[in-house]
């Protein structure tokens, strides 16, 4: 380079048009959390300052992702290419309504977890880096939702996985290390498959930009060629592992009950949904033809996942493991939406993802409160919580109804959409599986309700009598910190249940954006694209 003075036409290679300040909202969620996470990492020893700093950055995250969603809804899909290189050579962040919606919901959940963590994560946990890990986890989650480049998606997966490993072993219990090994091994295999598939994809198309691949796939003559089928199958297996779909679901109930309850709440809310999101991105946006011959496989996996999750939940008496199985059942519903692949079905899957992020986090948080009130996560040793706090019992009932998909809460509408799409598409089995799974989930949650809340006391308490239960950590429930996040999340669940139009329109718009990606392609390559 030195000494050469050849004049180069920069418009051929670089973005030369000035970038509006509002477009910086595209990178803001990842950037804010990265700055906040590194700042918290530097101040790791200051356990008093960390929660405040962490929550400030999480509030900024929520504000920026809300701003991003508004910007995307007003201006359509927006793209920013890192370093100013033109796509497909520069790494693009492309934000459509789907990515922006999930980013916003994920940010809200993370903020709630940050507030809840003030109570449940003690000084040791903070010194080991709860807040830095939470913020860096959100860097990865937001990056995955916002990026428009397949390899970059892989990188964000790694970022969020590394943070999640750190969170999983926070505290260093033997049982946590046991859970972390299972979680780590399976996720390593999953990410490797992801990487191999991405390498093959690059070999076929010579590009990793999602919009570029989407255009080249439609130009390719024979979409069902063996190589693309291999890539599609590899991606499906990789993302199914992340999403904990049957038969690669065993790592989730084996690891999610081991860490601090707020960490379980964040994982249950966010991590599996990133897998589902990636599945929608890859199969619906960039390899739509492969969905034709993968649909039956995905449908079968969805049915088995729905049933495994619900039956597993019914069989468990450990509250956190039970909730882990409910996460899996939810994944089955979303996979069913992907398998059907119509606009209504994908909208249903997106709405269900939003619902599941909120309700699973809230349920784990409620489980934490139940532990502090009743002194155990074991259903046999819980009881009499209704006497202890009728208000909390009501809140739990709302969550139980929502997760079972009963009206008038947020779980009802996406299930209606999915079932309608399934029967309309001639996949009655899929619709039936969703309904059966919902029924079994209702039974499982009813069991929790009867054991933990309705009866007088733990196992052995005679009928008709009540025992005053007292948990070990009752004093920790004094402040507003554990209650506020649960109220916020429950309020969202009630709101989406009573006023579903807003969220429904948003998910229909999100589904339209991936099914008819014209706006997505134009945003990356300009009008002629």
């Amino acid at each position: 380079m030195a000494g050469s003075s050849v004049s180069v036409d920069l418009t051929q290679a670089m973005v030369t048009a000035p970038v509006a300040a509002a477009d910086w909202l595209i990178v803001a969620p990842s950037l804010i959390t990265m700055l906040g996470g590194s700042l918290c990492l530097m101040l790791r020893k200051n356990t008093q300052l960390q929660p405040k700093l962490g929550i400030v950055f999480l509030v900024l995250l929520v504000l920026s992702s809300a701003g991003l969603l508004v910007h995307v809804l007003n201006h359509g899909v927006i793209t920013m290419v890192m370093g100013g290189w033109l796509p497909p050579f520069g790494i693009a962040f492309t934000v459509d309504p789907l990515g922006a919606t999930l980013t916003l919901v994920g940010s809200i959940v993370a903020l709630c977890a940050g507030i809840y963590g003030v109570v449940t994560v003690d000084g040791t946990g903070r010194r080991y880096g709860f807040y830095p890990f939470l913020l860096l986890l959100m860097t990865g989650v937001c990056g995955a939702f916002l990026t428009g480049d397949v390899f970059n998606l892989y990188v964000w997966f790694e970022v969020l996985l590394i943070s999640s490993y750190g969170m999983l072993i926070l505290g260093n219990d033997r049982i946590q290390l046991d859970g972390a090994v299972k979680y780590g091994v399976l996720n390593l295999v999953g990410t490797n498959l992801f990487l191999i598939a991405t390498g093959l994809l690059y070999g076929i198309f010579g590009t990793l930009n999602m919009a570029d691949i989407a255009m080249k796939v439609s130009e390719l003559g024979n979409p069902a060629s063996g190589t693309i089928a291999t890539v599609a199958a590899l991606y499906f297996l990789a993302f199914a592992m992340k999403a904990a779909a049957f038969p690669v679901n065993f790592w989730l109930p084996a690891s999610y009950h081991t860490p601090n309850i707020v960490i379980s709440a964040v994982f249950a809310g966010l991590l599996t949904k990133v897998g589902v999101y990636a599945l929608i991105r890859i199969f619906v946006l960039i390899l739509p033809e492969s969905l034709d011959y993968m649909a039956d496989v995905i449908g079968l996996v969805a049915i088995l996942t729905l049933l495994t999750g619900a039956l597993g939940a019914l069989a468990q008496s450990e509250l956190r493991r039970l909730l882990g199985y409910l996460v899996i059942a939810g994944i089955g519903s979303m996979l069913a939406g992907v398998a059907i692949g119509s606009n209504l079905a994908i909208s249903g899957a997106i709405f269900y993802a939003v619902h599941s992020i909120i309700v699973m986090t809230a349920l784990y948080m409620a489980a934490g409160v139940m532990f502090y009130m009743g002194g155990s996560y074991d259903l046999r040793r819980l009881g009499g919580l209704y006497q202890r706090s009728a208000g909390f019992a009501g809140l739990f009932l709302v969550l139980a109804f929502a997760v079972s998909g009963l009206p008038p809460f947020s779980g009802f509408w996406p299930k209606v959409m999915l079932v309608e799409a399934a029967f309309g598409d001639g996949r009655a089995w899929l619709g039936a599986a969703i309904l059966v799974s919902g029924f079994l989930t209702t039974l499982a949650m009813g069991r929790v309700w009867i054991y933990a809340f309705w009866r007088g006391g733990p196992e052995g308490t005679p009928d008709g009598t009540g025992v005053a239960v007292s948990g070990g950590g009752a004093a920790q429930l004094g402040g507003a910190a554990p209650w506020l996040p649960m109220f916020v999340l429950t309020a969202l669940i009630v709101y989406f249940g009573l006023q579903p139009e807003w969220m429904m329109n948003l998910s229909i718009e999100g589904a339209g954006g991936v099914l008819e990606p014209r706006g997505y392609l134009q945003s990356v390559f300009g009008e002629q694209g």
């Binding site: 950037l31 590194s38 700042l39 990492l41 530097m42 790791r44 020893k45 920013m80 520069g90």
Partner: protein
């Protein structure tokens, strides 16, 4: 491992390696080198110093905890990308500041800051892993 020869040589060797790592870091923009490889060299210097003279003296010499160093690296790496906000260019577009001191051209740029950030992240992360492993060994 703690022979007298090794213990005498190690501080000089470590100092030389850190110096070389900074050289590799700075030449990295257009030639082989850069923040990552420089950081690895510096982290191995810390490891050698730790094996010879004990982990405690490495921690004393570093002043800051390695994880804090890594955090700082990530922080300035992210900040380096933000500077292009003020010139209405996309995130991470490189900004250059070129001036001459007598006949020498000095080129300061945001990629350099980013590279220093990468260097610190690698030194901090690999260094803290190495020190933790050495600490276990000496127990």
């Amino acid at each position: 491992m703690r022979t007298i020869i090794f213990r005498t040589i190690a501080p000089y060797l470590a100092a030389l390696m850190v110096l070389f790592s900074i050289f590799v870091l700075l030449r990295g923009h257009n030639e082989p080198g850069g923040g990552f490889i420089g950081g690895l060299i510096a982290a191995s210097a810390l490891a050698i110093f730790g094996i010879a003279c004990g982990v405690a003296s490495v921690r004393r010499a570093m002043v800051f905890h390695p994880m804090g160093v890594a955090g700082f690296g990530l922080f300035i790496g992210a900040l380096a990308g933000i500077l292009s906000f003020f010139t209405s260019q996309p995130f991470m577009t490189s900004q250059w500041l070129i001036f001459h001191i007598q006949d020498v051209e000095i080129a300061l740029s945001t990629p350099l800051i980013f590279d220093i950030g990468v260097y610190l992240v690698v030194v901090g992360a690999i260094g803290s892993i190495a020190l933790a492993l050495e600490e276990r060994e000496s127990d």
